[in-house]
Symmetry: C2
Subunit: 390 residues, 2 copies
C-alpha cells in the first residue's frame, strides 16, 4: 500500500487516502465473525454511512460496502443522495426526532426504514393521512442511553400503536430498535441486551441491535436469527471502539490514511524556541520540519501537546514541536534527518511501507475517540480514493 497522492492534487494541503479494499475487507471480517458465531441463518446488516461515512465520503463507502443488506443514514438529504447514486436496497433513517413524517412519504425514497425515537414523532406519524408504502418503522428503546426512545413503561404501548398502523395497511412493517450506551464494557453490554430482550419479549416483529463496539467485543455474541438486523459503523472503517485495542489488533484494516507533505526543513539550535508563544524549545541542535496540515484542515490543535506523526515511507515517529497553526504544523526531525522536502508524512493510517499509526492512538493522545478524528476533517482536506493495485 502506497500513500497515493495524485499529481493533479493542487496546493500544499493534506489529503485523506481512502482505501475501498480495506472497507470491503472489514465488511468480510464481520461476515466471518458472524459465521463463526453460528446461528440458524445469517442476520442482516445495515452499514452505517452517516456523517459522510465517518468522514470517508458517502459515495466512496457506498461503492465499497455494496454487499450489505442496507445502508443506515442520519438525514433525508443523505437518503436522496444514495438513491441518486444508484443504491436500490433498503435505507434506514436513524432518527426521526424533530422531523415531519410526511416528508418520508416520497415514493422516490424506495424501501425506507426509519426509527421512531420520540413520542411526538409517533404521534405525528399517526396523523399522516396517506398510507405509507415500503415504509418500515422501528421503535427505539430508550435503554440506558435515555437520549432517544421509549422507556420500559411506555415501550409496549407505543409498539402496539405502530402495529396498529401496520394492520391498517399504513406501514409495511414495524420492528424493535436498540442503541447501546456502553457496549465497550462487556458487563454493561450484557445488561443492556437483557433489558431490551425483556422489554420486547413476546412482541412480534424483527429486531435491530448492535454497534461496532458490541460486534468487536470479547463478550460472546448472542445468536441472531434471519430477521435480526445488525448495525456496523466504525469497524467498517477499520477503527476500534474498544478502549486500548486498535482495529489492526482485531484484524481490521484502516480505510483512511491521512497524509500531508513535508514542506521545509529548518535547523534550530539548542535552546531556541519554535512556534507561537515559544511553545517548543529545542532540547539540542535539531531540525524542525514544516508539514502542510493545520487545525484549519480539521486535525486537533491539541495535537501539539502529545502528538506524533510518521515521517516518510519508513514511518519514523516524529514529535509535533510547537503549537499547531491553521495551515501547518512543525515536527522535530532530529539532528541528522534523512527526510527531504516533499516527503509524505502520515498523521494516521498506513505509510505505504508497512508502518502504521492507528487513528485510535492519535485520538487517545487528544483525549477523544477515533470517530471524532475521522469525522472532523474539514472540506479543505481532499479525499482521494486509492486506485486498485494488482
Amino acid at each position: 500500500m502506497n500513500p497515493f497522492r495524485p499529481f493533479w492534487l493542487q496546493g500544499p494541503g493534506p489529503w485523506a487516502c481512502i482505501d475501498p479494499t480495506a472497507m470491503a475487507h472489514n465488511l468480510n471480517w464481520l461476515w466471518q465473525r458472524l459465521l463463526r458465531n453460528g446461528g440458524q441463518a445469517r442476520p442482516r446488516l445495515w452499514t452505517v454511512l452517516k456523517a459522510e461515512a465517518y468522514g470517508h465520503g458517502l459515495n466512496h463507502a457506498l461503492k465499497a460496502l455494496g454487499d450489505a443488506d442496507g445502508v443506515a443514514l442520519a438525514s433525508l438529504e443523505d437518503v436522496g443522495r444514495v438513491r441518486r447514486q444508484g443504491w436500490t436496497g433498503p435505507v434506514l433513517l436513524l432518527s426521526t426526532t424533530g422531523m415531519d413524517p410526511a416528508d418520508l412519504s416520497d415514493p422516490a425514497f424506495g424501501e425506507l426504514h426509519f426509527v421512531v425515537d420520540d413520542p411526538a414523532a409517533l404521534e405525528r406519524l399517526e396523523q399522516v393521512p396517506a398510507p405509507f408504502s415500503e415504509r418500515h418503522a422501528w421503535l427505539r428503546y430508550a435503554g440506558h442511553l435515555r437520549t432517544h426512545g421509549f422507556d420500559d413503561k411506555r415501550y409496549a404501548d407505543a409498539y402496539q400503536r405502530l402495529q396498529a398502523l401496520v394492520h391498517a395497511g399504513r406501514l409495511a412493517g414495524a420492528g424493535h430498535f436498540h442503541h447501546y450506551a456502553a457496549a465497550e464494557d462487556p458487563g454493561a453490554l450484557a445488561q443492556e441486551r437483557q433489558a431490551f430482550d425483556a422489554v420486547s419479549a413476546g412482541l412480534p416483529g424483527p429486531r435491530c441491535t448492535e454497534n461496532s463496539a458490541a460486534l468487536c467485543s470479547d463478550a460472546p455474541l448472542p445468536s441472531f436469527d434471519a430477521d435480526h438486523w445488525l448495525r456496523a459503523g466504525l469497524l467498517l472503517y477499520g477503527a476500534s471502539a474498544l478502549p486500548g485495542r486498535s482495529g489492526s489488533e482485531l484484524g481490521l484494516r484502516p480505510a483512511m490514511s491521512l497524509h500531508a507533505r513535508l514542506l521545509a526543513i529548518r535547523p534550530v539550535a539548542a535552546g531556541e524556541t519554535v512556534g507561537y508563544g515559544d511553545s517548543y524549545r529545542a532540547p539540542h541542535d535539531t531540525n524542525v520540519g514544516v508539514v502542510g496540515i493545520g487545525y484549519g484542515h480539521g486535525i486537533p490543535r491539541d495535537l501539539w501537546r502529545r502528538g506524533q506523526l510518521l515521517a516518510g515511507r519508513d514511518g519514523r515517529p516524529v514529535r509535533v514541536a510547537g503549537r499547531v497553526a491553521m495551515d501547518c504544523l512543525t515536527v522535530d526531525l532530529g539532528p541528522q534527518p534523512p527526510d527531504q522536502p516533499g516527503d509524505i508524512m502520515t498523521l494516521w493510517g498506513e505509510t505505504g511501507a508497512g508502518a502504521a499509526l492507528p487513528v485510535e492512538e492519535v485520538a487517545q493522545a487528544c483525549d477523544t475517540i477515533a470517530a471524532e478524528m475521522l469525522t472532523r476533517l474539514t472540506a479543505r482536506t481532499a479525499l482521494v480514493v486509492r486506485p486498485k493495485t494488482a
Copy 2:
C-alpha cells in the same frame, strides 16, 4: 438580529449564520482605530480570507470585505476562486514553501503578491526563466516564530537577491514581511517589532506586518506609512485573539452565530444517567433537551466536560449534559423548562434577542482558541448568509 433559519434548510442539522454587516462593521472598526492612531497617511490592508475566511465562506467574506486593499489567501486554488468571483484587486499568497514558483506565472492571477519564506523557494524563484509581470515578492523574516522565513544572518542577503530580480525586470516589486509569534503579549510584541525594524533597517521597499492580536492590543500601534501593508484576519470575524477579552468587549461584532434546533425534551429522574458511558447523572428531577448538533458537525466532543449553550431567543444558559454524540448532544434544561421542541439553540454568537455567547468563551472552555472553533466546522454544517434587515 434574528438567528435566521430559512425554511428551505433541510434536515435536523445545525447551521452557521453568517452576518456580512458584522464583517463590514469590524472592518470599519479597524479603519477607525487606524485613523485615531494618526500617521501621515493611512496604511494599506490585506483582509485574511484563508481557511474559507476562517470558516465564514470565502465568497461571503469577499463580498462583505470588498473595501479592503487586497485579500490574503493560503493557496493558489483560492486565488483562482477569488478571481472567478470577480475580485480584481491585489491578492497575497501567504506562503510559497513547497510550491513551484512557475505555478505563479499564469497572467489570469492578475496582481499577485506572494511571500518568499524559505531558502529553497527563493532559489527556485531565481530559476524561473520567464519574467513575472504583476508579481510582488515579500521576504519573510523568521523572527521569533522561526517556522518560516529568513533569520537575522540571512535576511539582508536574501533581500538583495529579490531586489536583483526586481532590477532585472523579473519581479514588479519586493517588500518585507513579518508574522509575530506572541502578539498577544505587549512586551513580546514590542520586541518582535524592534527585531524586524532592525533587520530591515536601511533596506528599501514596503513593509507588511501586524495581525489581529497586534491590531487589537492595548499596546500603542506604531505609526504606519502609506506603503505599509497590515494584515487583519480573526478580528474581521468579530473574535478576539487577546486572552481574557472577547471581541464584543473590544467593540467588534461576531460574524458567525452557530445554531441548532432543540429536537426533543425528555424528563429524567434524579439519579438517572444520560448519554454514553453514564456520562451525566441528573442531580435532581429535570429535563434533558436533545439538540441537533454533534461532533460530526465539527464542534468539539470535549464540549461535554465544561460546555454550555444558550436556549431560545432569551439565551438562557444551559449546561451540556453527557457526552457529545456524532449527530446530537444533550443539555440539562432544568425542572420546568420554558423550551419547546423546534426552539433555536445557540452554540456561540448571538441569539437574536440581545443575548450572546462569545466564541472565545467556548474556545476557552475547550482549552483552545477561537480560530480553531470557527475553522473546524465540517461541510455538514450549513452556512447561511443573513439577509440584510432595515
